[in-house]
């Protein structure tokens, strides 16, 4: 029996994959706890899962500020914001809490989210073995291809964080914070990631971690489709609702003449009248819905993409920012979907893209192939196997 501490950022998509892995470890008799932003953790984790409480919690003001300021940012603005106004302040804010969570919980292994570097930092500080939980594969390949200077700028962000928390200048090492030398868990497979980089044995490509998910109060799980025709899910993820106004309009226009039903996940107050074949919901239990649809239109968030492919579903991707363009490139390269431009796509083009993935069997066949690679990779079971080996 060993003790595992998950250190996670205040991002739903980064917490969800750890839940399945944590539950799998608990079933094997290990003791597991999470440390992160409590309000979000409490919302996502079942009550029987332990959240470590410390006297130093992540301030709500930081979370609210990030939420407010990040709205609508794209491209290099979003990138600058992500590193300077999200990742770095979050890392600073979490160091005291992670230290005290480690003192309280006494983990044998820390599982630190890749974008929540306080976890890796405190593990290093205490000589504790840690694994990196890479909830998007974008950071594992080079996300700065187009602007290579940004790599050293991002490295500087990480190193100045380390130095300000007691690491000697000559010992600061950004790559160590990004990728644990012990184990890096990636919730995808090389079939999707591609082969532009060689990965050592300590990279575990386990495929999506599909866990039991706590239904949110506001979400309804009833299946809403009315007939036996083709069905699609249209979603821009948990944080992009408001920026999607134009895209939603285009999608609704496109749906007017598509012979399929669509479930559009969006804030209903942003949506006016909808065609008869469209249903709008603010929240859905995505994993439940995916079992009932034939295709997915998404912003290319890593979780939505791998969860869709887990069900063998082809995709239309309209990346907005962050890792989404990289993930969307993977979708196109694996020929499991079609990419459109989020801010420019017109109804006619979106309709063609949706009809392609619905009717051209190649996309579904390739998606099925990725699904098989995911099933073979072992998901949360394999992640737990690899974590046990660290003890």
């Amino acid at each position: 029996m060993a003790r595992f501490l998950f250190v996670v950022p205040p991002l739903v998509g980064h917490i969800n994959p750890t839940i399945g892995v944590g539950e799998e470890l608990i079933e094997r008799g290990h003791v597991v706890a999470w440390y992160g932003y409590k309000p979000i953790l409490e919302n996502l984790l079942d009550r029987d899962l332990e959240i470590v409480t410390t006297e130093s919690e992540i301030p709500e003001t930081l979370i609210k500020q990030v939420e407010a300021q990040s709205k609508g940012l794209r491209g290099a603005h979003a990138l600058k914001f992500f590193w300077e106004d999200f990742l770095s302040p979050l890392a600073h804010a979490m160091v005291p809490g992670v230290r005290s969570a480690v003192e309280k919980f006494k983990p044998d292994v820390i599982v630190a989210d890749q974008q929540c570097v306080a976890g890796a930092h405190v593990a290093l500080e205490n000589g504790i073995t840690w694994a990196t939980s890479a909830t998007t594969s974008a950071e594992l390949v080079n996300p700065f291809k187009l602007f290579p200077k940004l790599k050293s700028w991002a490295d500087d962000c990480l190193m100045s964080f380390q130095i300000s928390h007691g690491v000697k200048k000559e010992d600061a090492n950004a790559d160590l914070l990004r990728e644990s030398p012990h184990l890096v868990i990636a919730y995808t497979t090389l079939n999707l990631v591609g082969n532009e980089r060689e990965f050592d044995e300590h990279f575990a490509f386990v495929g999506p971690s599909i866990g039991r998910r706590k239904p949110r109060d506001s979400e309804s799980n009833e299946i809403v489709f009315s007939n036996n025709g083709k069905k699609i899910l249209i979603s821009l993820g948990t944080v992009n609702g408001e920026v999607g106004e134009r895209f939603y309009k285009v999608a609704l226009d496109a749906m007017e003449t598509i012979d399929a039903e669509a479930l559009l996940v969006a804030p209903p107050d942003l949506i006016g009248n909808v065609p008869r074949n469209v249903i709008v919901k603010r929240f859905v239990s995505q994993l439940d819905i995916l079992k009932h649809v034939d295709a997915v239109v998404t912003h290319g968030g890593h979780n939505t993409v791998v969860e869709s492919l887990y069900y063998g579903l082809p995709l239309v991707v309209a990346p907005i920012r962050d890792d989404q363009p990289v993930v969307s490139d993977q979708v196109v390269a694996a020929k499991v979907g079609v990419r459109v431009k989020f801010s420019r796509v017109q109804p006619k083009e979106l309709k063609l893209a949706i009809e392609s993935i619905l009717h051209e069997s190649i996309y579904r066949e390739n998606a099925q192939r990725i699904r098989e690679s995911f099933l073979k990779a072992g998901g949360k079971v394999e992640a737990a196997n690899r974590l046990e080996k660290l003890v």
Partner: protein, 97 residues
């Protein structure tokens, strides 16, 4: 068309404008103003794949000396955010000299 070396700044701008319209797509280009002070990030919201395509078109049009990819590779994050069409036009004119 004139020999590339003799293109005036205005002619370079006109060509760049046409290429940007091609890259973003005709349907969308109708509403898009492309002038010297137009910014790639805030005004054009150029996406990563569009940067790649634009780089290819620029090289096809102006020749190997106009290496957009290498040019932007040296940019810091602030410079990327501030980059304007005018800067690209100046870079092209200089590269063609």
């Amino acid at each position: 068309m004139l020999p590339l070396q003799q293109l005036s700044e205005k002619e370079v701008l006109n060509t760049v404008r046409e290429l940007i319209y091609e890259v973003v797509g005709e349907d969308y280009a109708i509403d898009l103003e492309v002038e010297m002070e137009t910014s790639f990030q805030d005004d054009l919201e150029l996406e990563s794949i569009e940067f790649v395509t634009l780089a290819e078109r620029l090289m096809d049009t102006f020749g190997e000396s106009v290496d957009f990819t290498s040019w932007i590779a040296n940019m810091e994050v602030e410079e990327i955010i501030a980059m304007t069409v005018g800067q690209l036009v100046e870079y092209i004119s200089k590269s063609l000299e």
